[in-house]
Amino acid sequence: MSPDKRMKINGPSTIFDQSDGQTVIINLVTGHYFRLDEPSSRLWERLKDSPSCASLLASCRNADELAAKLPAIIDELNSHGLIVLADIADGKADEKPGDWRFEGFALEKFTDLEDILGLDPIHEVDPELGWPHARNS
C-alpha cells in the first residue's frame, strides 16, 4: 500500500448504498454483491473519501491496528473489483486526526445473482433458451 495513493470506487461497474448502518455493494460485471456491517461500513466510507491512505491512517484513533490490517483489506476489495488505486485527490482537505476508531472489517460476499447480473447473453447464455438461462458447460 502506497501512502501517496488513495482508494477510488471502481465505477461505474461498482455501485453501493447504505441504510441503517449496512452497506450493499454490487459489482455489475461479476454479478457478485456484498454486505458490510456497521463497523465495516464506517471504514468503507473513510476509504472512499480519504484523500490518501496516509490521511486515512492519521485520522484513525487506533492507527496501528488499522495499519496492520489495511493492506489485506485493500487487497480484498481490489480482488473483487470494487476499488482501484488512484493518485491523491487535489484540493481535498485532510481529515481531522483521531476522528474515528477502526473496529474491524468483514466483507460478506454473495454470488447467487451472478447468473443474472453478470451474464453476457451473447457469449454465456444458452443459445436455444436465451437470457437468463446460462449455457451448460
Binding site: 455501485i15 447504505q18 441504510s19 441503517d20 449496512q22 450493499v24 453476457d120 447473453p121
Partner: protein, 343 residues
C-alpha cells in the same frame, strides 16, 4: 462504429413509426402512467391484451409504436456489443468497465440475440419502438415490456421493486423475498380474503421526498404466476391459466372480466414484508438495513440500465415505511397478519 449506426437506424425507425400518425390501437395502464400502442395490424396482433389493464383516467401517457418484421431487415450488426439482462446493449470496452450506451446516445435498447425481438426507448423524446417478435416468451406475455416499465419509472423519479403488492383500503404492502419464499401464497391468501391486487412480481413505488406527500405504489400487470401443487384457495376471480414453461408456473391473466381484485389506482406504500424460508413463523419487525439488503441486489439484477439510481431509490423505499419479516405463515392466519401491518 456500430453504436452510431444503430442510433441512426433507431432514429429513422422512430421518425417513420411516429410520423406515420397511425391511430392509437390500445391505451393501457402501465404503472404510474398510461401506454398508448400503435402500429401495423400484424404486429398489434402479437400484443397480449389479457396481460394488460385498460388505461386509467388522469395519468400521464407514454407512446409506443410497433415495427413490422420487415423493418428489422436493415438493422445494423450489433453482435460485437456486450449484452445485459433482456439482451440490453451495453458498451464494455470504454473505461475498463461496463458503460451503458445511454451515456453515448439517448437510446436504451434490448435486442434478443437472434434478432427475434427489439425494444428501444428514446429517453429524450420518451418514445418507444418495439418489434414484439414472432413468438413472445411467457415472461413477456405476463409482463409486457418490463424493461420499459423500469425505464419509465426511473424517468418519473420512481422505482420498480421486485416484490408483490397487495392493498386494502388504499394502503399497500410490498411483499419481497427470494424465489420459493412464499410471496405468491401470501398474495393468493389475501386475494381470497378480498384484498386489492397490485402484482405478484413487480410494483412501482415512489420514494418519498420532503414536501412531496406520501409514498405511493402502483401495480402494472394484472397477471399472477402460480407454481403447480401449491395451496388451493377458494378464489373465484382466477380464469383458466396458461403454462409458462420457462418459470414452470401457471400464468393467470386477470385482464378483462376476470380481473376483479386488480387495482390500477395508486395506493399508499404502508409497509414492506420480507419473506424468507428460514424466517420466523410470525410477522416480526425487520431492520431497515436488512430489508434494504434483502430487496436491493435482487431488484437491481432484474432490469437493464440505471443500476445506481435503482439502488439509491430502493434504499429510500426500504426506509420510508415500516419493515417486517416472516417465514412460512399458517395459511388461515395470513390475511389477519397482513391486515395488522396495514393498521
Amino acid at each position: 462504429m456500430p453504436l452510431a449506426q444503430l442510433a441512426g437506424w433507431l432514429n429513422r425507425q422512430r421518425d417513420r413509426a411516429f410520423e406515420a400518425r397511425a391511430p392509437v390501437a390500445h391505451r393501457v395502464h402501465f404503472g404510474g402512467r398510461n401506454l398508448s400502442i400503435s402500429g401495423p395490424a400484424q404486429a398489434l396482433d402479437r400484443v397480449n391484451l389479457h396481460g394488460l389493464w385498460p388505461a386509467s383516467e388522469r395519468q400521464p401517457e407514454i407512446r409506443l409504436a410497433l415495427l413490422s418484421r420487415d423493418d428489422l431487415d436493415t438493422l445494423p450488426d450489433v453482435s460485437g456489443l456486450r449484452r445485459g439482462a433482456y439482451g440490453a446493449l451495453l458498451e464494455s470496452d470504454l473505461g475498463g468497465g461496463v458503460r451503458p450506451i445511454d451515456e453515448l446516445s439517448p437510446w436504451l435498447v434490448c435486442i434478443e440475440q437472434d434478432r427475434s425481438r427489439l425494444l428501444a426507448y428514446d429517453t429524450e423524446k420518451k418514445l418507444t419502438i418495439l418489434w414484439p417478435g414472432s413468438v413472445a416468451p411467457p415472461r413477456e406475455l405476463a409482463e409486457f415490456c418490463r424493461p420499459l416499465f423500469h425505464w419509465s419509472a426511473i424517468g418519473d423519479h420512481r422505482v420498480v421493486v421486485h416484490a408483490a403488492g397487495i392493498a386494502l383500503n388504499g394502503r399497500a404492502v410490498l411483499i419481497a423475498g427470494a424465489g420459493n419464499a412464499g410471496k405468491t401464497t401470501v398474495v393468493r391468501a389475501c386475494l381470497a380474503a378480498g384484498f386489492d391486487y397490485l402484482g405478484d412480481n413487480v410494483v412501482e413505488v415512489s420514494p418519498a421526498r420532503p414536501r412531496e406527500g406520501l409514498p405511493m405504489a402502483w401495480g402494472a400487470y394484472p397477471t399472477l404466476k402460480v407454481r403447480p401443487g401449491g395451496p388451493v384457495f377458494d378464489n373465484p376471480v382466477l380464469p383458466q391459466p396458461s403454462w409458462d414453461d420457462e418459470a414452470r408456473k401457471n400464468i393467470y391473466f386477470l385482464g378483462g372480466p376476470a380481473g376483479a381484485g386488480f387495482q390500477a389506482r395508486p395506493m399508499i406504500h404502508a409497509a414492506t414484508l420480507v419473506l424468507s424460508e428460514k424466517g420466523p413463523q410470525a410477522i416480526e419487525p425487520f431492520s431497515k438495513g436488512e430489508a434494504f439488503f434483502s430487496i436491493a441486489p435482487n431488484t437491481v439484477a432484474q432490469f437493464p440500465f440505471y443500476h445506481g439510481e435503482t439502488l439509491a431509490r430502493l434504499r429510500r423505499v426500504s426506509e420510508q415505511a415500516p419493515t417486517f419479516t416472516a417465514g412460512r405463515l399458517r395459511l388461515s392466519r395470513i390475511p389477519d397478519c397482513v391486515m395488522e401491518l396495514l393498521a
